[in-house]
């Protein structure tokens, strides 16, 4: 808890009282001298009134946890005074996710809270594509005279999240694979579940793969081979440089869209039992090596919703990406694929994709389209972006062009249609 801050609003009341008293004394007016008692009483009031130690808890309810993009989501916040003092002046501002805009009612309320009492307020936000975590609510508690105030963050009892993503059934992936069981159908045979062939028994074949029925019928030892399924190791790299914070005014910018795409992709890839990592090209290093499992999934999700690289506003400077790319390259396993999520706003992004490709990582680019078509400048930017897409495709890097009006799954399906 933070310490109380002086608001200094009563500063000077004593001085004014003394000036009035002095005036009364000089003019020999008892009435004026008396007026100074008012100042003294008020000065005593703000000095003596106790500052409560606030102990608040917060419960946030969302009417639909996974809305569709553009839906209005009603949020109800209940604040309870857990302490044993009455809070006469408690002002609460809820931590609305930065990417969402409040459409109905302010996400704030002033309240008087007796011990154990609960007050609620509700508001509505418009859901945007992506996964949005709520921040802690901010409460400002003042003593009754307003002389001191405490500002504290109140965490909700359970972390609320708005999940506005569409399930992707088949995330893009190239056929390079690892020797771990996963969902990429490998050419090799082994211990999968899909039948591939039968062949005559060779010494050393696992007993479980011997076709015992056939042996019983004919006395012949045969082995059943299954199609082996293998996992891919994939790094999702999000372009979150300041230059990528582009987008039509008032709408989602490309970094938000990219983070949302990364959320959907990592979820889908992890569901397919692949090893998935996450990194960002940004002012601050953000790298999580590919891994699997429940905890890894939570870590990635936390990174996407909380790391400063994916915040709603850009940092001012853009360091050259070379060093960052170099450091990520050094940390990647040899067979790791790369899913590069970038609006392709400049040539550096193309260069990054080619660098990874050149180092033997199979690269797929997912490019949220942040361009518009109104002014000549916007048209030029769109044309430049098209050229970059073409340049990438020419060197054999598949590019998924994602128009932000459609769900990502649709763009991926369209791309898959092109390739087959």
């Amino acid at each position: 808890m933070t310490t109380p801050q002086q608001t200094n609003r009563w500063r000077g009341v004593v001085a004014v009282a003394l000036v009035v008293a002095a005036a009364g004394l000089l003019a020999k007016r008892q009435e004026l001298l008396l007026l100074s008692t008012v100042g003294v009483v008020f000065a005593a009031y703000h000095r003596t009134v106790p500052m409560p130690t606030p102990n608040l808890s917060l419960d946030r309810r969302v009417d639909t946890a996974s809305p569709a993009s553009g839906d209005e989501v009603e949020i109800e916040v209940a604040v309870t005074n857990e302490g044993d003092e009455t809070l006469y002046d408690c002002r609460v501002v809820d931590g609305v996710p930065p990417a969402l805009s409040v459409t109905d009612g302010p996400a704030r309320r002033g309240m008087v809270l007796r011990p154990g009492e609960t007050r609620t307020f509700s508001y509505a936000v418009e859901a945007e594509r992506g996964r949005h975590a709520f921040d802690d609510a901010t409460a400002i508690v003042r003593d009754p005279s307003g002389d001191r105030e405490v500002e504290l963050d109140v965490r909700a009892a359970d972390e609320t999240e708005l999940d506005c993503t569409t399930e992707i059934t088949k995330p893009p992936r190239r056929s390079q694979t690892l020797d771990t069981v996963g969902s990429v159908a490998a050419n090799g045979t082994g211990s999968g579940i899909e039948f591939q062939q039968t062949r005559s028994y060779r010494r050393g074949d696992p007993v479980s793969q011997i076709d015992w029925k056939r042996y019983a019928a004919s006395g012949e030892l045969t082995t059943v081979d299954f199609r082996e399924e293998q996992a891919a190791s994939i790094l999702v790299l999000v372009d979150a440089r300041a230059v990528a914070y582009r987008g039509p005014p008032g709408e989602t910018h490309a970094v938000d869209a990219g983070a949302s795409a990364a959320t959907q992709l990592t979820t889908a890839l992890l569901n397919g039992r692949n090893h998935v990592g996450l990194a960002a090209l940004s002012a601050e290093d953000c790298f999580r090596a590919p891994g699997a499992g429940r905890e890894h999934r939570l870590r990635l999700r936390k990174l996407l919703s909380r790391h400063s690289a994916f915040t709603a506003s850009p940092t001012d400077t853009d360091d050259p990406v070379d060093e960052q790319v170099e450091s990520y390259l050094g940390r990647l396993g040899e067979q790791t694929q790369l899913l590069f999520v970038s609006p392709l706003c400049d040539d550096a992004a193309v260069e990054v994709a080619r660098r990874f490709d050149g180092h033997g990582h199979a690269v797929t680019v997912v490019s949220p389209d942040a361009t518009a078509n109104e002014t000549p400048g916007e048209r030029l930017a769109a044309a430049e972006r098209r050229n970059r897409l073409r340049a990438l495709r020419q060197v054999g890097i598949p590019v998924i062009d994602w128009s932000l009006d459609d769900p990502l799954a649709l763009a991926i399906d369209a791309q898959r249609g092109v390739r087959t």
């Binding site: 007016r29 008892q30 004026l32 007026l35 008012v38 100042g39 008087v112 009754p144």
Partner: protein
Amino acid sequence: MNGEITRRPARFSAALSLFAVALSVSLVNTGASTGTFVAVVGLVLAIEGAHRFRTGQRLLGAAGLLVGVLVATGGAGLAVSSATGQSQLIESGLGLFGLLCLGLGVLPLRGAGSRGLSKLGCASVLLAVVAGGLFQTADAVALLVACAALVVSWDAAENSIAVGEQLGREAKTWTVEMAHFGGTALVGGVAVGTGLVVRDLGTPGLPLHAIAFMLVALVFLTLALHD
């Protein structure tokens, strides 16, 4: 209602503040009380009208502004014309100027209200109260109540601006404002009571050196409270 936050001073406290200051002015200058309250109503109408006019509601805003200015001018005229003698004229002038400043401070034409303007307004009314004491146009009880009402008014104005800044006008804030105002008003009552007790303790013929000693004691008390 959309999600935009209007960071204008909270209405409830602003209204209480203006009411309290009008009470303070009219207590000092009892003859001008009707005029003062009429002037406050006019001022509120005029400023709200001007704000509406600025934010798009042209017709309603213009009408409000016109009616408000007329009513306010009428009220001020009534207050000034009821003054008998120069002393009351000074008091009325200071009081009305203070009202205008405070009104513009808590009901701003643009922005989030001005603490400076509301302080200036309250200082002006305080001068009117002091003038009332100097010219002996009002008795001690009226002055005490006027002074307490002035402090309450200043406190409500400040609170209204702070609540407006932090929570905005759309948020439900009246309970907080009510609690705060209640506390301050209660202390104002206590202050008036204390003043009366002090007055009864001192006899009219109290020697000046006794008063001087009392003042020194007062200074020490306030210093002790200050740190």
